[in-house]
Amino acid sequence: MTANPLLEVNNLKIYFPIKKGVIKKKVTYVKAVDDISFLIKEGETLGLVGESGCGKSTTGRGITQLVPVTEGEITFQGENLAELAKGDLRERRKDMQMVFQDPYASLNPRLTVEDILAEPLKAHGVKSKKERIERINKMLDVVGLNRNFAYRYAHEFSGGQRQRIGIARALILNPKLIIADEPVAALDVSIQAQVLNLLKDLQKDFDLTYLFISHDLSVVRHLCDRVAVMYLGRMAETGSTEKIFENPLHPYTQTLLEAIPISNPRDKKERIILKGDVPSPVDPPKGCAFVGRCPKAFDRCHHDRPQLLKMNAEQEVACHLYDE
């Protein structure tokens, strides 16, 4: 695990303005992503976890330039994406593909599987139809779909099959990085396992790097090498999967893990239940984002924003508890 960083995100901020007033004065911002940094090394899987609204999906969209980045640097294979010309950016996209959460909404119902899979090829200059069909057929084999399916429409498939199509679309350009935004959240349990296994197999076969965005800690634990925990647009803790699950440092990570339902009734346990809801990203707390719900909050947490601290070789945490 000494590979080079494939993707580096530094001080990423993504703010959405809320327009108000007659002449549309920009008054407030939704701070969806508020100054986060992380990196992904080649061949590894980074899990980005957090509850809904914590900014994990926005981060993914920011990296692929689907939403405008307010501030910060995204370096992919050593190139700063913000500094790339438009054409080059499109070229880079080839190496950085997304898999989306909702397999129903992410496939255009008016297109056949072939059309859907041909689209990235066309967009990136594969002109020969023969070559396209060849690659599509190959890709269908890879994701475990019948070649005949190429002429069917997306709506004829079940959720698991659709997600395979979505994965095929992402893979067809031989990308380096796959950003998977909750790829199994909408699937039934039995299907979820199939897809997770597929993702694992593909990673091995194609040397893929994953940014795996999920709210499901069990899935993350199963799939990821490293985990980054986000809360309200900020990074709470990052570290290797082992460390995070065995020895969570941030109080939020701790409660998050506590909240996971047990997997066997014999394991019934007493636990701390987190109180209250996630506050609004329009008006986040001044100090630590988690301060309002944190069982261990103290005075300083209200004023100072904690920075990520390297706790050990594999773990960083943003919490004043570990400031010393």
Binding site: E51, S52, S158, G160, Q161, D188, V189, S190, I191, Q192, A193, Q194, L196, N197, K200, H215, L217, S218, V219, R221, H222, L223, T241, E242, F245, T255, L256, L257, E258, A259, I260, P261, I262, S263, N264, P265, R266, D267, K268, R271, I273, L274, K275, D277, V278
Partner: protein
């Protein structure tokens, strides 16, 4: 097992839905019962018929296209299917109440929280408005809503999903029902909020002694909440047992597969067990075991004969030919 009396007894319930001129049995001859004070988990993947079953208990199956084709739903000894609409209205919300999966849309956006709790109170109780108001605020307090007097006047959009689900629970429990049907009440919620709600439900159950029928696809939630579990697959009950047996001695290949395919937060498994194939639409398999296509232990017999529900031990039944001879389990008449 103590012989507590059953609150709900479902026998041979078959529900058909009409689609493109054909009638499909979405629920096909299911039977189970819920004892007083018990939490029964109904587990299954999407399309297995668990929600339809719960709606049929409430008498809320959209008709057409759906209809109860066969069977009985006995609630405290009386068959609900014989009830007239007017009698049924007295049961709903009063003796049996229900909370739904989507807290965001289950509350009427144009009425205040208070009005929506009052509504059910005034419907089923002889009380005046101010009494209803007091009781509503009491209920809000009970489900752990801070500043209940203020929330009473709020509209649903002003509350978060977790809070709304608490309100739904308050509405469900307002008339102290004998049975609460919870249809995936936490699926749409974040883990931390889910934990809050599950905790709340456990607490309330202890306080009120209400029986709960807990419908979910999440086995983790089942493990936390339920006393007994019914596993459904494609409109049928494939296994019924107490929760401990389910997790530690499951019999049906589907249950086994399901347990195996769930990743665990507590340990790292390199490769998940996965059930092959797709979840069939309920009612589409005409003959044989409905799981046969996906089963690793499938036998020729599975394709041709419908497996009966076999008794494994007291309170444990399983619908699989695997156990027909070896356990000698008696067939439970269906």
């Amino acid at each position: 097992m103590t012989m507590t009396k059953n609150v709900l007894d479902i026998k041979d319930l078959t529900i058909n839905f009409k689609s493109e001129g054909k009638e499909l049995s979405v629920v096909d001859g299911i039977s189970f019962s819920i004892k007083a004070g018990e939490t029964l988990g109904v587990v299954g993947e999407s399309g297995c018929g668990k929600s339809v079953t719960s709606l049929s208990i409430m008498g809320l199956i959209p008709s057409p296209p759906g209809r109860v084709a066969n069977g009985t739903i006995e609630f405290e000894g009386k068959n609900l299917l014989d009830f007239k609409e007017k009698e049924m209205r007295k049961v709903r919300g009063n003796e049996i109440s229900m909370i739904f999966q989507e807290p965001m849309t289950s509350l009427n956006p144009v009425f205040t929280i208070g009005k929506q709790i009052n509504e059910v109170l005034l419907l089923h109780n002889e009380m005046n408005k101010s009494a209803a108001r007091n009781r509503s605020i009491e209920m809000l307090k009970l489900v752990g809503i801070p500043r209940p007097e203020q929330i009473y006047h709020n509209y649903p959009y002003q509350l978060s999903g977790g809070m709304r689900q608490r309100v739904m629970i308050a509405i469900g429990l307002a008339c102290q029902p004998k049975l609460l049907i919870a249809d995936e009440p936490t699926t749409a919620l974040d883990v931390t909020i889910q934990a809050q709600i599950l905790n709340l439900m456990r607490d309330l159950k202890e306080k009120t002694d209400t029986s709960i029928m807990f419908i979910t696809h999440d086995l983790g939630v089942v493990a936390e909440m339920c006393d007994r579990v019914v596993v459904m697959y494609s409109g049928q009950v494939v296994e019924e047992t107490d929760v401990d047996t389910l997790f530690n001695d499951p019999k049906h290949p589907y249950t086994l597969g399901l347990l195996g395919s769930i990743p665990k937060a507590t340990e790292k498994i390199d490769r998940l067990y996965s059930i092959r194939g797709q979840v069939p639409q309920a009612g589409t398999v005409e003959r044989g075991c409905r799981f046969a296509d996906r089963c690793d232990k499938v036998m020729p017999r599975c394709y041709t004969e419908d497996p009966p529900l076999l008794k494994m031990k007291e309170g444990h039944q399983c619908r699989c030919w695997l156990y027909a001879e070896e356990e000698g389990g008696a067939e439970i008449d269906s």
